[in-house]
């Protein structure tokens, strides 16, 4: 008699973030219910409160570790997981909470928000891969739920999952006509990683790179285009690239001349 193969144990862990990427997983609706039948849940605080298990086959982590407790948990989760997936812009590039690290004295911002700052952690924001080893990144703010579904199914089957290195422009319905950048809008589509389906430019909203940059980008050419086509000052360009904390990553991925 054939023994039924053991279902993989999945954990979904949320650090500091908006939790929108977990909501996107719920938004899979019927597909989410089907997914639940194929796996064993090791930890998924949004849907259960069972005691934790010792080992995860796949841990999915959204958000950034800001409190000391979150950092501790992240390290434990890494240790007990075979595969760790960073989910969403916060986990992959830092998220909007990283803006504070680019804007001078971060404790000045803390004092602006809180009268009592004692006991409130305010470290520099780090993406998950800067803290522990990450096996796969699913970027975006929010993630593209269809992309998530396809990637997670491939990983479950033991197949190789990959996000193709191409710019958002390739998926943009406005390419060749009505390009937002050519119309003078500050669009980062040319340097940003596709896979989202370009919902932003499709809705007249310039891409601001929530999925982070592609590899080997020509940052100087992008800056020049933003300067001359969209009439932005250097500081304005910097501020756009900070929105999802992706600026460090953009600089890292740009080709050196």
């Amino acid at each position: 008699m054939n023994k039924e193969p053991k279902k993989p144990v999945i954990a979904i862990l949320s650090l500091t973030c908006c939790e929108g990427c977990q909501v996107a997983i719920f938004d899979l609706g019927e597909r989410f219910l089907e997914f639940l039948t194929k796996v064993n849940i090791g930890d998924f605080r949004l849907a259960e409160e069972l005691p934790d298990v010792k080992h995860y086959d796949i841990a999915i982590v959204e958000g950034t570790a800001i409190t000391k407790e979150q950092l501790r948990r992240l390290k434990i989760v890494r240790k007990k997981s075979k595969i760790l997936i960073a989910l969403g812009a916060c986990a992959c590039v830092g998220g909007p909470q990283e803006i504070k690290d680019y804007r001078g004295d971060k404790n000045r911002l803390l004092r602006y928000v809180y009268p009592n700052i004692r006991g409130i952690d305010n470290p520099n924001v780090k993406s998950v891969k800067e803290l522990v080893k990450v096996d796969f990144e699913i970027p975006g703010c929010p993630i593209n739920k269809d992309e998530f579904f396809s990637v997670i199914n491939k990983i479950l089957k033991g197949e190789k999952a990959e996000i193709e290195q191409k710019p958002v422009c390739e998926e943009c319905p406005r390419k060749n006509k009505n390009c937002l950048l050519l119309l003078g809008k500050p669009c980062l589509g040319a340097i940003s990683l596709a896979g989202c389906g370009a919902p932003c430019p499709a809705n007249n909203f310039p891409c601001d790179g929530c999925r982070g940059p592609r590899k080997k980008i020509n940052l100087e050419a992008m800056k020049k285009a933003l300067k001359y086509k969209a009439h932005l000052h250097d500081n304005e360009i910097e501020m756009i690239m900070e929105r999802f904390g992706e600026k460090n990553e953009i600089i890292k991925n740009s080709i050196k001349k």
Binding site: S14, L15, T16, C17, C18, E19, G20, C21, Q22, V23, A24, F26, D27, G29, E30, L33, L36, I41, R45, L46, A47, E48, E49, L50, T64, A65, I66, T67, E69, Q70, G95, P96, Q97, I99, K100, R103, K106, R108, L109, L110, Y112, V113, Y114, P115, N116, R118, G119, I120, D121, N122, C141, P142, P199, C200, A202, N203, N204, F205, M239, R243
Partner: protein, 418 residues
């Protein structure tokens, strides 16, 4: 004896609870928020005005629409920008979609298992497969409203200063109208499911705060109703006091020295006469009589609101589809000023107040529903020994009851720390 609950599951965000029981009396009940500070109010200073709603929507992935729209509303009030009727109707529809999807998530996936003593939604899904599919379907319709009008269901794209940057496709709106009509029955069925639950007996008087207006069940617009007072949002903000105790990463609020409750139960309490017919029928069937000072009924209030939102969406879409959907270019002549905006988020009234100079944000304050509810929830928990049978139940079950109350408030911890 100390009660300690670490990592309260099935709420949005991370929190724990501590209190002491001194001779049967609960003392020092405190919700401890376990989220990192993201400093949204701080990081938005010095940035361009239109970045405010885009970035602030990232405060919450469960209710991004309301953060986005309240941010725009505060700026529009600061700059004296008038919106055309079509833009307002489209934004109202987005809010109805937001309430449907958030309520459906909380009702079915967060709170319902408590009534059956299940520790995981999987047990619930296996025991009630049909209701599960109904809840998913209802939630999908809510998401679809936001997706079609907002361009995306999480972190919407189309709202802009003075209106919307893109009008939705009328063909898709017609499809949406059909979906809403076809699934209204399911929303009512879901309502019936919650009608037949047994809500724990608990009583503590409080005041209910929500928007209110004479024309409709207030969600997008209205004065702030506090008892007999009707205040403009900016007047309310002058009177409400935010405070932060030691080691608190989420602030609390009080109005005239007292805690108050916002959310579905507060709205129903203040505005139930404005409910649409099917929602009203459900309310009558429920036998809820106001004033009703039992926060567990916030759950049932949400279920009634889901039906109201379906009916209201149908009404607004029918109206919208009678003519051509055209958005006019907003007139923006001034980008300096101070203003406040308030909208009913799924969990209660959300306030933004902003000061901008020549299109750059100078000051920003955000008061979220959960920040307002926390003090009230803690006050309820201080009185929790009066819940029926508390003295006779075991320690473990006490913790379950406490978690059930916390979940009834549908706290959004992520929002409370922003």
């Amino acid at each position: 004896m100390r009660i300690r609950i670490d990592h309260i599951a099935k709420i949005e965000g991370h929190a724990s609870f501590t209190a002491d029981i001194v001779r049967g009396d609960i003392k020092g009940a405190r919700i401890k928020i376990e989220e990192g500070a993201r400093l949204f109010e701080g990081i938005l200073r010095g940035r361009k005005d239109e970045e405010l709603p885009e970035i602030a929507s990232r405060i919450c992935g469960v209710c991004p629409v309301v953060h986005n729209l309240t941010g725009f509303k505060a700026l529009e009030n600061a700059y004296n920008i008038q919106l055309d009727e079509t833009a307002i109707v489209l934004r109202k529809l987005m809010m109805l979609g937001q309430l449907i999807n958030s309520h459906a998530l909380h009702l079915f996936f967060f709170s319902l298992a408590d009534f059956f003593g299940y520790k995981t939604d999987l047990q619930l899904i296996n025991a009630y497969p049909e209701s599960t599919h109904d809840a998913v379907k209802v939630r999908d319709v809510g998401n679809k409203i936001v997706e079609i009008i907002g361009g995306r269901s999480i972190h919407p794209l189309t709202p802009s200063l003075g209106g919307l940057r893109k009008a939705p496709d009328p063909g898709k709106l017609k499809e949406l109208l059909n979906d809403l009509r076809n699934n209204l029955e399911l929303a009512i069925k879901l309502g019936d499911l919650f009608l037949n639950l047994k809500y724990p007996e608990f009583y503590r008087e409080t005041s209910y705060v929500s928007l209110s207006n004479s024309g409709e069940y207030a969600i997008y617009d209205g004065d702030v109703k506090v008892g007999k007072l009707n205040l403009k949002p900016e007047e309310f903000l002058l009177l409400v006091k935010e405070f932060q105790g030691p080691d608190m990463v989420a602030k609390r609020t009080k109005f005239a020295g007292n805690t108050y409750m916002v959310g579905a139960l507060a709205r129903l309490h203040n505005n139930s006469d404005k409910l649409n017919p099917e929602a009203k029928k459900l309310l009558e069937k429920s036998g809820m009589k106001f004033p009703l000072y039992n926060p567990f009924y916030n759950i049932l209030a949400q279920a009634i609101e889901v039906v109201h939102c379906f009916e209201e969406s149908i009404k607004l879409l029918e109206l919208l589809l009678t003519g051509e959907i055209k958005l006019s270019e907003p007139k923006i002549t001034n980008r300096t000023g101070e203003g406040a905006g308030a909208i009913e988020a799924p969990r209660g009234t959300l306030f933004y107040s902003v000061k901008a100079k020549e299109g750059v944000i100078e000051d920003l304050n955000i008061i979220t529903p959960t920040a307002q509810n926390l003090a009230n929830l803690e006050a309820d928990l201080e009185e929790f020994e009066h819940i029926e049978g508390f003295k006779n139940i075991k320690r473990e079950e006490r913790a379950e009851k406490i978690k059930m109350l916390i979940r009834a408030y549908d706290p959004c911890v992520t929002c409370s720390v922003h």
